[in-house]
Symmetry: C2
Subunit: 224 residues, 2 copies
């Protein structure tokens, strides 16, 4: 990216924030939310029902942005919360609009980014709608492991893993008790190591087989 573009983006930056683990980054339904980039730490987006049931939509790692929907729609359709201490880069509310005007050459990247975001939640929807509990857990662990590795977080064959079993449950549409049992099964099978806030994969191939998760799958449905 050219220096000029970086300079422009920098000018739109409202500031850099640090927030402790567990803090609310975006309030669900809030109308005055900003656009953020996650610089360090983990966070997640979620929606909830009036009676408290909650669905985690997405886990956010460094480099991810949040608040695009909040900026474009009138109220934020989801909330976001920090899983660890996080560093955020905050932008002005109208950044997207102004950027699309003043730096059209970047707006294509934003469209691309938005499409990628939708692909991600499409994938999750497939899991939650059609995979069983073991498949879902395996799937999510492989997915997060992969992303954490490519975010450069791997150390000693494992990556940090700040999610509680409750978070896993809310992300997968399961009860936390059941998540616990599934996890024990995977551990016993030597497929994963998950303790003290770190995740290691014992047998990636087997885990992917469990999850039915292959990245370039040519899944073709038999001719009905």
């Amino acid at each position: 990216m050219a220096a000029e573009q970086l300079g422009w983006i920098d000018a739109r930056k409202l500031g850099q924030l640090r927030r402790p683990a567990g803090s609310v980054l975006i309030t669900e339904g809030g109308t005055d939310e900003r656009l953020y980039t996650l610089l360090s730490g983990w966070a997640f987006r979620f929606k909830s029902l009036p009676d408290g049931r909650r669905q985690i939509l997405n886990i956010l790692l460094p480099g991810d942005t949040m608040g695009v929907q909040a900026e474009l729609l009138s109220a934020s359709p989801h909330g976001a919360e920090a899983l660890t201490d996080v560093d955020l880069c905050a932008f002005r509310r109208d950044t997207l609009l102004v950027l699309s005007r003043e730096h059209p050459e970047l707006s294509f990247d934003l469209i691309w980014l938005a499409a990628l975001g939708e692909k991600l939640t499409d994938d999750v929807l497939l899991s939650v709608g059609r995979r069983n509990a073991t498949e879902r857990v395996a799937m999510l662990l492989v997915h997060l492991y992969r992303r954490a590795v490519s975010a450069g977080l791997k150390q000693d064959d494992s990556v940090p893993f700040p999610l509680t079993q409750m978070h896993l449950a809310d992300a997968l549409g399961l009860s936390h008790v059941h998540v616990n049992r599934v996890l024990q099964g995977l551990r016993k099978g030597g497929l994963v190591r998950l303790s003290e806030g770190r995740l290691g994969i014992g047998d990636l191939r087997a885990l992917r087989r469990v999850a039915d998760y292959w990245d370039q799958p040519p899944p073709r449905r038999p001719l009905l």
Copy 2:
């Protein structure tokens, strides 16, 4: 939208197609997919697992676009199929890229559109992950009824409804047998009328209460 913009868009149009109900509009995993706008009829986007389980991601009504992800990512991460006979407007593969360059003033609308699309699947994810069967069915029926009405499809207090119970099941992460039973319950309660390809709502308020679904109508969309 200015005449110049419309003219430009028109120039990118490859042609207008008619496809019969049940035909494949986008093949899952396909690499040579186009960008389409649905002019008339109903369709849906879906993903499937190697063993044939299928998740419907989204129902498409006239005015909706499909293939954005297919155009931006290297292979289409989802398929799309026609529910009724459809008319499509097809665009060149690189339309988005070129548009963002030549008509930057429109690219913001695309970002906006993409954000709306993600909000939609986020909503579905909440349903599938955290609502029970009755709530899910009620929710989806209200949602589709609303959209069909605002697409001007209402006649005689009901809207066309081309989905089979199998489609509902695949959209909601349920078995079609169970969908059938839930539907009977809603009918018995006088909440919905659903037969012969048409859907009517008996008691909207009650249905929304069942679905725990309170959400103001989606904002007006730009472009097309």
